[in-house]
Amino acid sequence: MGQRIESPTGAFEAAELIAGAVADGQRIEIIGGGSKRGYGGPAPGADLTLWTARLGGILHYDPQEMVLTAGAGEKLSAIDALLAEHNQMLGFEPPDFGAAFGGEAGETTLGGVLAANLSGPRRIASGAARDHFLGFEAVSGKGQIFKAGGKVFKNVTGFDLPKLMAGSWGTLALLTEVTVKVVPKPKTTTTVILRGASFQNATGAMTRAMGQPLAVSGAVMLPTLKGTQTAFRLEGFGPSVEVRAERLAAQLEPFGEVEVRDAAFSENFWRDIGRVAPLASEPGSLWRLSVPPATGLDVVRAVDGAAAWIADWAGGLVWVLAAPDATLDLPAIAAAVGGSALKVRGEVSEVSRQPAHAALSGLVRAAFDPHGVFASRAMVA
């Protein structure tokens, strides 16, 4: 935490604080709910902490328009509650990482999940946070207020800066106001579970399911004492979910025991997967491996026995909890299949990138923050 904490009430005040920090040669850390301060290594050292708590409020929401504009510091819990009243939700299923990364649950902000581009299990069906981020107002590292994007779904006017802000971890600009697309809440949710399949059969089942028009909106494989447990989420209108669940179950039956669970089970189960709950409560270094989905099998084979793991996103996102004395070279395992590994909890990890990408990223960062007023984060720059 910076020596000084400020909580600006609007973009103008934030701009003054940032311009002041530039003038004084100070470095700023931006905090939303603080739920991910421990994500990707210890939070950066900074002289000034800008806390977005007073940049809240739901500024505009028209359910028929399926677009919501809020202050970046608005809590997800408030947004979720309002959307639920109108049978809508955020399509990217933002996980609450509070408990897993040294913060508290329920504090996550909309600006925070967008700045981190964090998405839950539904990412395989409806895209990542970046895909739902339509527009914003922000303060750059020059202390200037600017806007980009828009408040409608379909917009190609100017560069798509919301994409760049998503996943920039507060190193380019302070988001003050954000506009996101929202989606209808599914009427029905079912989870089809396959138990006892081998790694190969379980990952093969995920790959096959994703290659069919079943609209699978969650596909995760977990290790169990008897092989694997693989869960598939199907959502939508009742008659459609029923047909798809039957079809999927029939395909899975040759590989193990199949069980179909209801909406109440599904809600808890997938929320826990999103939060990495099965691993988060255990001590150790937590890694996130992003790989081509069909190669999840190779990753799981390489780490099983040496570490605990969860293979979400149909194999494309493998969470690995490594014991302190584990000798697994996870970056090498991910790189071997064309993916990447980030240590999200534990000592600061080096994130390797192609030199050309790193050079370009440095120039992009300097374009938004020429004075380096925003503190660096290991995973971006």
């Binding site: 109108h86 600017f146 408040k151 100017g158 798509d160 994409k163 994703m210 993916g339 370009l360």
Partner: protein, 516 residues
């Protein structure tokens, strides 16, 4: 080396203008023009003698894109075949401060591929191979000159398709789709290009080759892929694209609904969305467009209706049946007096035939100028009413077709190009429509891009700081502004007349392409 006797005299342009350009472009680089022969020689060394086009006849192919109001021959054209050649060309041009205009199929409707008299046109037409189809990871690796539709054609037998479907999909290239972040009729459900491209190989103006994204769902570092998509050729040249493949739906059904009022149709759209239904396509036409289309293709449209909706639903058959019933109820509750569900594929095709023929149908009546703005859907009745008033003020007719689900309007302003002053009036009318889109909370362009067309309207949506931030990003990639200059940014600070999509006598540069 052969040297032309006049090579040392710097002409104003290498070639005379095909027709006068009212558009103001960046100041002409006479030094580059005077070095034309030297530049051509350098490009021949890099890409081979056959890859460089110097002759007027060869260059004429590139003089315009889908925005036919403006034409300009490039100084030179080069058609490389490998990423290494592209890198060497960009490095040479970067070091020698020579402007470069990347070009795909040249179907842009906003002048994004309009050449410059003092620049090298970099054609990517030879990058026309599908390199890999990876069904297990649901993606394909393709070269940028591959056409949009050919990707779907390559994978449809395995039950997949490439979702974005701009109306020019039989001709437009995937590289151009990446540059423009192209949409299409089905992007309401399946997303735009940006949601369906997983990675690209980008060559920078320094000649560096950078891989952005990949087959994994996300990649470390800044999402540079996200800003490169839709950057209109201003940030680099894409030489490889990884596209997402989507399982093809099992069943597709369509319904046609006629309404006595625009308000009824607009509320029907809102109610469909509010019911949690995300149609594959949701299109609206106003009375003028309905009647023009019906006269042209006899699709069986209710010609007395004030507004028509076409709703397309896809998914398992049970889902389509269930939702079709709901949609029909919603339509009747909003006063629809015609509700028809396509019995078979032939009838569904007929429903679409009218919509897809709307542009040429209007083109039979006169010249038209196609606009492309997006508004919040709730503003639709008000915006239509205002467009109607403007139509009276300008004395020009207007037909309205919309991608109603995402609020993307395509008003077609009718004029007579041979009547003095009408072209200018149509352009002024069009600009007023786009300003209105911004005024009600929308944007200047939903899918056609800014290009040169809306460049000078950018200040209607962005203030000076907003634009400066975007130009700073441009400078991070291209500090000397050599890549596709004169597009997107109104940096010339002059009251240039913006170019438009003009269609004269039903003829466009791509008259064989459907536009909708």
């Amino acid at each position: 080396m052969f040297k032309h006797p006049n090579a040392d005299i710097a002409p104003l342009t290498a070639f005379p203008l095909a027709r006068p350009m009212a558009l103001t472009m960046p100041e002409l680089d006479r030094v580059a023009i005077s070095r034309r022969a030297e530049i051509a020689a350098a490009l021949r060394v890099i890409a081979g003698a056959n890859a460089v086009i110097e002759h007027e006849d060869g260059l004429r192919t590139f003089e315009t894109d889908g925005l036919t109001a403006y034409a300009q021959m490039p100084m030179l054209a080069v058609l490389p075949q490998t990423t290494a050649e592209v890198a060497a060309i960009l490095k040479w041009c970067g070091e020698n401060r020579v402007k470069i205009m990347p070009r795909g199929a040249g179907t842009s409707l906003s002048g994004g591929a309009l050449p410059l008299a003092d620049g090298v046109l970099l054609g990517l037409g030879r990058f026309n191979r599908i390199l890999e189809i990876d069904y297990a990871n649901r993606c394909a690796v393709v070269q940028p000159g591959v056409t949009n539709l050919s990707i779907t054609q390559a994978v449809q037998d395995e039950g997949f398709f490439y979702a974005p479907d701009p109306s020019s999909q039989i001709a437009c290239s995937i590289g151009g789709n990446v540059a423009e972040n192209s949409g299409g009729v089905h992007c309401l459900k399946y997303g735009l290009t940006t949601h369906n491209v997983l990675g690209v190989t980008l060559v920078t103006i320094d000649g560096e080759i950078v891989t952005l994204g990949g087959k994994a769902y996300d990649s470390p570092g800044y999402d540079l892929l996200g800003v490169v998509i839709g950057s209109e050729g201003l940030l680099g040249v894409v030489t490889e694209v990884i596209v997402r493949l989507t399982p093809a739906p099992e069943c597709t059904r369509a319904a046609l609904m006629g309404f006595p009022t625009v308000e009824g149709a607009a509320q029907c759209v809102a109610d469909i969305m509010a019911a949690g239904i995300v149609p594959a396509g949701l299109e609206m036409m106003d009375g003028f467009a309905i009647r023009a289309a019906e006269d042209f293709v006899h699709a069986g449209y209710p010609t007395e209706a004030a507004a028509l909706l076409i709703v397309e639903l896809d998914g398992p058959e049970a889902e389509c049946e269930h939702l079709l019933a709901e949609v029909q109820t919603i339509a009747r509750n909003n006063g629809a007096d015609t509700v028809r569900v396509a019995k078979d594929e032939a009838e569904r095709a007929r429903f679409w035939a009218g919509r897809k023929a709307a542009f040429p149908a209007v083109g039979r009546i006169g010249d038209y100028y196609c606009m492309d703005g997006t508004i919040p859907r709730r503003e639709l009745p008000g915006v239509l009413a205002r467009i109607g008033e403007m139509s009276k003020t300008y004395g020009l007719g207007v037909a309205n077709v919309f991608h109603a689900g995402d609020g993307n309007l395509h008003p077609l302003v009718l004029y007579n190009a041979n009547a003095p002053g009408q072209l200018e009036a149509a352009e002024a009318f069009g600009a007023d429509i786009l300003r209105l889109c911004v005024e009600v909370g929308g944007v200047l362009t939903g899918e056609h891009g800014v290009g040169v067309e809306k460049r000078d309207l950018m200040p209607a949506m962005f203030n000076a700081v907003d634009l400066a931030v975007q130009e700073d990003l441009k400078a991070a990639f291209d500090p000397n502004f050599l890549l596709n200059p004169g597009k997107v940014f109104p940096n010339l600070h002059r009251c240039a007349e913006a170019g438009r999509v003009h269609v004269h006598g039903g003829k466009t540069r791509f008259s064989h392409l459907p536009r909708f």
